[in-house]
Symmetry: C2
Subunit: 438 residues, 2 copies
């Protein structure tokens, strides 16, 4: 039995609604390269039919889903995201239900050569795992039988990586440290790092398996600096196509740039012709562990929460009416003569039209590390946003929020990282090769 | 639009393979009681067809799945498990992908009356949440739009509960403390507790939402003693019907009693006519946080790991041949004259025929709380097993394992709890009512 290549758009045919307002999927999905073992029981008519339900990515997927909810699901395990491509996977890929973030520091003495060898090893490993193949002959077996489960592995470099590898001259200005913000309560031991890896999958064991494999493949070259676990809604758990919710219960991600918009690529990915050629097709990830003070938040009535956000909790529509995607009527006044969407409402302050066009693609995981000694949940958002330039994305928006967002008293930024994420590897290439070898 | 009741066996039609060797589903699944909001987009032909794919629980489901993998999936969110019934949900329910365990201690001064009021509140809440309805008018909204997602909420009482409520005379002998074991490294702050709640769902936000709601409904009556998070394979992530794997990569749960076996009920549930009438239909849960020393384990070759277990890693078949469900040929000798399944192999020592018929229904979650300061994962198994009598289930098997299991050096029991889980509530009743009010 030999697998035939099945190529198509849309990595998440089973739930295109999740790309509504969230990241659309521009990468291609392929069953090509899935091993014979993986295909046993998945490549039959049912499997192919399931995958064939997918519409094209982005807005098209949204429109199709809006017409035909609920979407019939194929097996979650058979979803495959391509490793090779213009951009790395895990940026415009639809959000997965399980995620791990892990930062490494290079070991003393490990320089450019060792870093290049590590990126070569990691890239080869990521390509195998994302195709649903074992890491090695002595694979731990944790992901056996699960299928690729839309696994993505994404690699980034922190500011310190460039000094350690003697590449300071190639360090882009976009990695200049983020400014301090008044809500920051940053733990340096859980912030920054030479190397950053984002792992996402629609199965918890597949994601864990990849994390272990990546950690072991680091060998003596790099050691873990910090590691965090996150989650999102399960594929198929949302009946209607809509943007996902966060642990405050808010619909979160409505104003994300859409892959169908003409300036999407320009906002998210570094174009050719900027300061460093190796950066082309890359992006910047701002990572913040944002704790939600849920006990305080949940003491507010739903009406008060809606005032803080400026949107209805039920469906994410602006308080000035319409649906989730309706623009805010920022000038509309209520019977009391005050703006319906308050001056300090989160949605007003973070609205793209209020930020001179600054835009970032938010693609977070929720986190929950249990209940703390004070009885409150250690829970919130592993905020990850993607942009071509942090100074045109996260920084200006967060500066505005920092000055007057009504939501700020309910949030605490506990860790922070800024990483440059090189463009995707071409066939035969490893991630970061154009930086490390040219 | 009004929902018609859809009743059938098998709560997890989307992946009956997960009940192979694991817990079958004997409870009924119903869309009855799902609110109109929940049904928007789920009660159409596609949703009903998806649910109708389910076969009867246990062995029948296994057989059907073996013939027709992969199973087409409906939306994960529409799965409903009934709250009311002879037994509580979450015991024979197929394992869910997300779980929370939480133990509470009654507050000083809270006695039998306060405990009864709490169980009444919690039961009403669990019934609402499991049907996919909000917790209250001021619900946090975290689970909105997700559907019930096969949520279960299961309640148990620890030994100390009976003293605090003045009910020592009704404390069953099955709650006598577990004996110490040599592999125990128990943290008392994460062990035991007056009350225990197990939450499981096929969506991380639905499970988190239920945990928060249960915690808040405790009010001043009880406070959290400890809380743990776990996960299992996603529904639909396993292409072939088979028992799930643990974080060591082993197929785990092969020898579980099957609901189709004639002595299943007798082994798992307390029969009528024992020492306390209120116990009828109940069960005992032994809960152990078992850390896996994965770095040590993964240093073994696959062949050595298979020797430790006595089964093949690829498919769980005994080293003496056959398939996963083939009995071990315990007397078979290898070319070296030694037993093929070693005298200290885990599968031999834990085999039911080696334990005088002792049996327990294992229904665990994996856990992963990040990477510890020493660089090793804080990961393993939230072991939960169910039995009619711990002295005929967990205790004798663990005693034997404690004396000579080759797997023991790779495990560390870090927390332990033993809870009696009353029978299910009938309509109009709350869980534990027959203990607290009779």
């Amino acid at each position: 039995m030999k697998a035939e290549a099945l190529k198509q758009q849309a990595a998440r045919p089973e739930n295109p609604g999740r790309s509504d307002g969230g990241p659309g999927t521009t990468g291609s999905t392929a069953l090509a390269g899935v091993s014979r073992r993986r295909l046993l029981g998945t490549a039959g008519a049912a499997g192919a039919a399931g995958l064939a339900l997918g519409a094209a990515g982005g807005a098209a997927a949204h429109a199709a889903a809006a017409e035909a909810a609920p979407t019939a699901l194929s097996t979650v395990g058979s979803g495959v995201v391509a490793f090779h491509g213009e951009h790395q996977a895990g940026i415009t890929t639809a959000m997965q239900s399980s995620g791990h973030l892990v930062a490494f520091d290079l070991s003393p003495g490990a320089g450019r050569k060792a870093a290049a060898a590590l990126m070569r090893r990691w890239s080869a490993l990521a390509a195998e795992l994302m195709a649903g193949r074992p890491a090695s002959r002595e694979d731990t077996g944790v992901a056996l039988d699960a299928g690729p489960s839309s696994l993505t592995v994404t690699f980034g470099f922190g500011r310190t990586f460039f000094g350690r590898t003697g590449l300071t001259a190639r360090r882009p200005a976009g990695l200049d440290p983020l400014p301090p913000f008044s809500a920051d309560r940053l733990d340096p031991r859980r912030s920054d790092g030479d190397l950053w890896v984002q792992i996402g999958a629609d199965d918890g064991l597949v994601a864990f398996h990849a994390l272990r494999a990546i950690q072991k493949a680091a060998g003596d070259t790099a050691r873990v600096r910090w590691q965090m676990n996150g989650f999102n809604r399960a594929p198929g758990a949302t009946a209607r196509p809509m943007t996902t919710r966060n642990l405050m219960g808010q619909i979160d991600g409505t104003n994300n740039p859409k892959p169908s918009e003409p300036d999407f690529d320009r906002r998210v990915f570094v174009p050719a012709g900027t300061e460093h050629g190796w950066l082309t097709g890359g992006s910047y990830a701002v990572v913040r562990r944002i704790r939600m003070l849920l006990d305080d938040w949940e003491r507010l009535s739903t009406a008060k929460q809606e005032g803080v956000i400026g949107r209805r909790k039920s469906d994410g529509a602006p308080l000035t009416g319409g649906g989730e995607s309706t623009p805010l009527a920022l000038d509309e006044l209520g019977p009391d003569g005050k703006p319906v969407v308050a001056a300090n409402a989160h949605a007003r302050i973070s609205a793209p039209e209020q930020n001179g066009g600054a835009a970032m693609l938010r693609r977070p995981f929720s986190y929950h590390d249990g209940i703390g000694p004070d009885g409150t949940p250690d829970a919130g958002l592993l905020f990850i946003c993607w942009q071509a330039d942090p100074l045109r994305g996260f920084v200006p928006v967060q500066r505005k929020l920092d000055r007057g967002d009504a939501l700020s008293p309910f949030l605490r930024h506990e860790a922070s990282g800024l990483f440059v994420v090189p463009g995707g590897a071409r066939q035969g290439e490893y991630v970061g090769q154009r930086l490390l070898e040219s």
